[in-house]
Symmetry: C2
Subunit: 409 residues, 2 copies
């Protein structure tokens, strides 16, 4: 019998209790022992809850109880989750968390603490919700060097872009629908729409594949606020999809590119077919080639089921897991990670002057116009080159409304 | 230092040696120790090979050497692989294999032997080549009851169907191209085109999700020989794709459906977008909903990299893995597993008599005709009902050339 504590009884935390109850027999068989929740930490009043006797409002009894072998952290955010997790690891308890902000910000330190104290720090649910991704990445692909990961890791923005594409909604309309369905925060939706959530997730994946901490604040991050229905109109005609892509890849000479930005993808590309709240991450291994992991990126029970799978692994596999699930701490860079790669750009301007556009962009491969706008696809160029061309166009009186790179995989 | 033996130095076996050499440092770090090949069993002459000193032509020195902790079986087929694997497990050695025929036929017995002798019997590479599937299924989805798996598990037939759809080739032309590229056997391509390979793979997945041995001979299996360019023409117009689908699913009342057959899929279905030699398997967990695993289903290094990941797990995780990776032996059924589900059918007849077709099928939802043929989509019906309607049509002088069920997921 393994005894665990749940920190934070919100959506995911209550889901963990529910999952452990619902599929208890199968989980016990796979874990090789029964898994029982001994404490639930939440400062709110749960005295009317059927399991009221499990609730505590301080971390102390949990840390002091040697019977508790694993702590599930589903509070979210940094404070107080970080202190609780640190104390649990230092006290010789495994920690399983769904908290992407915590892992992206303090992952390296917490992994080192876990190794030092011979316990596990696991976080499958922090990226892709319930979709298996981190475990396959480090365990099943153990024989590979991972060259790149790229994909759609924020379900809310993917839902919004799908509504814009399929139902002709504007950004504002799609955001309202997403808020109405509880996918986006009502007061401040910026964690989703400005790419902050995706940035934390790619920071975790980038750290894992590079073996060295990649700090969220160093990752160039753009959200989808700039995408208009005009862009959807033009890209559809060009047989392209617009997706918020998070990526991390090794360069050929030891360089490392990483970012979050809206990109255009050819319709036949597998990621272009990922719609609504689904997430999908394409992983390229040096031996394996491309594999794709696809599923719903959020939701109470899916996310909780991933946390519980981590609890099973912590109790069963133990610390050997950190031979492959690990990254070193590193100091943050000054400024953002740069991407020196050349990309085809989709460019839209509020202007009909195709001739000047062609000249200033050194030629285009495709152009479309409507009453007052022009959209083109450029030849491949670097970000720096695009900045120069934008400045040139501006001088010629043409303002670039949107410039999106094309994802080529 | 872990010492291993490779049985069979064909494509996958030589790939395992290459992978262990190429990514030695990363593999050693993840395994927590160096992994060294001590023997290679092959009856052919490899005296000119750079590692000639490793080759043996009998299993005996391998079985007798207590230093060998894991045996990799990449011979394929049943004889002599089955005897070698059995002896290795009985001798207390882990076995990692890519041999789907062996696992589909003797998996239950070999898993029980592994548990009895406290060793591992692992076979990630037997389904989906290098694409992680078996490990995520039983480990990452440990908190779920798996309701169904369905997908494309044979790359050769998927390549052929893609050529037929994209390049207008006939079955025979597509087969020749597949043979020319080494995807299909030249002398007897039936393992691929008649669904035998897919049947073995779904037998493995069906056994795993049900916990009880599903015998390949009980799985109703149809290949793609019956698919013509007329079917491709009509299904394209109907915005459907034709795919060879392998599936296994729990019914609501404890029933279990399992089969391999060409099916039609709406174009927007994620599996419809899987083309060429790619494999993709959609897994539905009771908590998780749908997740998709996608990648190349074959190839030397991808498959070898999955075998090596199994070696790492065998050396590191050990027998605890069989708490979740296991199924019980069971006697084969008499006859085939039946599927009582209702499906929309795509039906093509060499006839223009739409009126009789409509009457005998009790109505259709869509119909298309060319010079001398008619294709329709029916209302949902069971297989038995379709057989009755086929007989009725036959009596009315209308022969059903093709009848394919629609996959609805």
């Amino acid at each position: 019998m393994a005894k665990i504590a749940i920190l934070g009884f919100g959506t995911v935390g209550s889901g963990v209790l529910e999952v452990l109850d619902k599929n208890a027999a199968g989980i016990a068989r796979r874990a090789g022992q029964k898994i029982e929740v001994k404490y639930i930490l939440d400062i709110r009043d749960f005295s009317a809850h059927p399991k009221a006797e499990l609730f505590v409002n301080s971390i102390d009894p949990i840390l002091e109880d040697p019977e508790v072998s694993t702590v599930v952290e589903t509070i979210g955010g940094i404070k107080p989750a970080y202190y609780y997790v640190k104390s649990a690891l230092e006290g010789g308890k495994n920690v399983c968390t769904s908290n992407k902000e915590l892992v992206a910000t303090h992952g390296a330190e917490l992994l080192a603490l876990a190794v030092k104290h011979k316990v596990c720090f696991l976080f499958e649910a922090s990226v892709g919700g319930g979709t298996p991704l981190i475990t396959p990445l480090h365990q099943c692909l153990a024989a590979n060097v991972i060259d790149s990961v790229c994909g759609i890791v924020n379900g809310t923005t993917n839902f919004m872009l799908t509504r814009m594409e399929e139902d002709g909604m504007s950004f504002e309309e799609a955001l309202k629908v997403a808020q109405g369905l509880g996918y986006a925060e009502t007061i401040d939706p910026s964690a989703d729409v400005d790419g902050i959530d995706a940035c934390r997730k790619i920071a975790i994946l980038a750290s894992l594949i590079s073996g060295s901490e990649v700090h969220p604040e160093n990752i160039p991050t753009r959200g989808i606020r700039e995408i208009t229905i005009d862009d959807i109109y033009f890209t559809r005609k060009m047989k392209l999809a617009v997706k918020l892509i998070a990526y991390a890849s090794r360069g050929e000479k030891g360089g490392f590119a990483c970012g979050v930005e809206p990109m255009v993808l050819p319709n036949e590309q597998i990621l272009a077919g990922v719609s609504d709240v689904y997430n999908a991450v394409l992983v390229r291994g040096d031996l394996l080639g491309d594999v794709l992991f696809y599923g719903k990126g959020a939701g109470k029970l899916p996310t909780a089921s991933a946390v519980v799978a981590d609890v099973v692994d912590a109790e069963k596999i133990g610390t050997a897991i950190h031979d492959s699930l690990f990254w070193r701490a590193s100091a943050p860079l000054k400024g953002k990670i740069t991407n020196a790669g050349s990309y085809t750009y989709y460019v839209r301007v509020n202007n009909q002057d195709l001739q000047t556009l062609k000249e200033d962009l050194d030629g285009v491969v495709l152009s479309l116009q409507n009453q007052n706008q022009t959209a083109v696809l450029t030849l491949p160029m670097t970000e720096k080159e695009m900045e120069k061309k934008k400045a040139k166009l501006e001088k010629d009186g043409i303002h670039v409304a949107t410039a999106l790179r094309m994802l080529e995989v």
